[in-house]
């Protein structure tokens, strides 16, 4: 539980590690699209981090091939390639499963799922999982928390941005410039969680 709150608030992937900022800025013009992308990201993140954990522990880490009589094989340099493969495959599978069992949700998320594949928040989540040596249970919680935190950030940001249409902004700052300044302010308020403790 503590890890969940930490990954949602204190170590928010978007606002304190800058992961997935490209998508964050590009897909936050409208509240509805941000909501769709946020939900898609929670889905993919929560599934892909534990799956990557299993792959890494069973296939890649040094000594993982012990049972096959190959104790010296260390494949951990392949982690980048295999994680990307896993993420792309997961997105594809999730998309097909949704289409088959939950068509309304599939229609709603449709175009956002492929976008999630190239989002660095997902790959970053998996790499953090390896670097911080989380266990399987921890990586499940971390994946879910990271996804929720990212979704929270983009939904809030999109809501602010919709209000922004009615404000008078200096010419050079319009669009991208002001978006950065607002993200900075949001990030500042999330930093308060890291200093003052989670709610």
């Amino acid at each position: 539980m503590e890890l969940f709150l930490t990954s949602v608030f204190e170590q928010n992937l978007a606002l304190s590690f800058f992961l997935g900022i490209c998508t964050f800025l590009a897909v936050s013009r409208k509240f509805e699209t941000a909501l769709g992308l946020g939900i898609a990201l929670i889905f993919v993140q929560a599934i892909s981090v534990p799956v990557n954990h299993l792959i890494f522990e069973w296939l890649l880490v040094e000594g993982a091939w012990n049972w096959a009589g190959l104790p010296d094989v260390d494949l951990s340099f392949l982690k980048l390639l295999s994680f990307i493969g896993v993420i792309a495959a997961m997105v594809q599978i999730i998309e097909m499963a949704l289409e088959r069992y939950l068509p309304p949700l599939h229609r709603a998320l449709g175009i956002y799922l492929p976008l999630v594949t190239v989002n660095c928040a997902i790959l970053g989540g998996s790499l953090f999982m390896v670097e911080r040596k989380y266990t399987l249970g921890e990586s499940m919680i971390f994946g879910l928390g990271g996804g929720v935190g990212w979704a929270l950030a983009i939904i809030t940001f999109a809501a602010i941005r919709e209000r922004l249409k009615y404000s008078d902004i200096p010419k050079g700052l319009q669009g991208l410039g002001i978006a950065f300044v607002i993200t900075g302010l949001m990030s500042l308020s999330f930093t308060a969680f890291a200093i003052g403790g989670t709610p």
Binding site: L81, V118, N119, G177
Partner: protein, 219 residues
């Protein structure tokens, strides 16, 4: 000759990949707490970008369109793995500081973006120049943000003390905020403002224009 020079110089300010196209921002912000990490990251990305563009453009006629993304990502990922190992071997301290962000070059939209938008359709030489130009444009932004953050956050540049700190009997009180995440967003936002005031053609059109009361009365 003029044309090929343009490939190199355009992405520096006129079509800067970070400031105009919002490509590759994730890493641009995360590694800029000090100038030396920014410098390493900029170097690593430029090398990966140039090599991947050259590779992809030299085999561009042999990649079937339907699987081109997978091929491109595999090429980029392999180069990044090599880069990561090189950093680990020769600059271990630095690679610890950069933590996962070297690996994240793979999903840096800048690398895939240039492969997709340019190297896929152009011969080797222009692709090389284009990649180099974009790498330098990216580096430029990284270095500016990194320099500002280190200078005001720690009073130093590349580890050398520029402003004498209060705790050492000097006059400079370091701004801790500069070392935290939010300042990176602010600095980049202001940087974009500066670039766009200098080059007004980059300004985005607002979706609505705000009418003053007089305009509303006399449309």
């Amino acid at each position: 000759m003029k044309q090929s020079l343009n490939y190199l110089t355009d992405p520096l300010v006129k079509a800067n990949p970070v400031a105009l196209h919002i490509l590759g921002i994730c890493s641009a912000l995360a590694v800029t707490t000090s100038l030396s990490t920014a410098l390493t990251m900029a170097g690593a990305l430029t090398v990966v970008l140039v090599l991947s563009s050259v590779t992809i453009s030299s085999i561009r006629n042999h990649i079937p369109t339907s699987i081109r993304l997978i091929v491109q990502i595999t090429i980029i990922a392999s180069l990044v793995i090599v880069m990561d190992m090189l950093l680990r071997a020769f600059a271990f301290e630095m690679s610890k500081k950069l933590s996962i962000f070297v690996g994240l070059i793979v999903t840096n939209c800048l690398v895939l973006g240039r492969a997709e938008a340019f190297a896929r359709q152009n011969p080797v030489w222009p692709s090389l120049l284009d990649a180099l130009g974009n790498g330098l444009g990216y580096s430029l932004i990284l270095l500016i943000v990194g320099a500002v953050r280190e200078l005001f956050g720690a009073g130093a540049l590349l580890g050398y003390q520029v402003f004498p700190l209060v705790e050492n009997g000097g006059w400079f009180e370091p701004l801790r905020l500069m070392q935290l995440a939010p300042s990176a967003f602010f600095i980049l936002g202001l940087l974009i403002w500066i670039i766009r005031s200098w080059r007004p053609e980059q300004v985005e059109e607002p979706e609505f224009s705000i009418l003053s009361q007089n305009d509303a009365r006399h449309p």
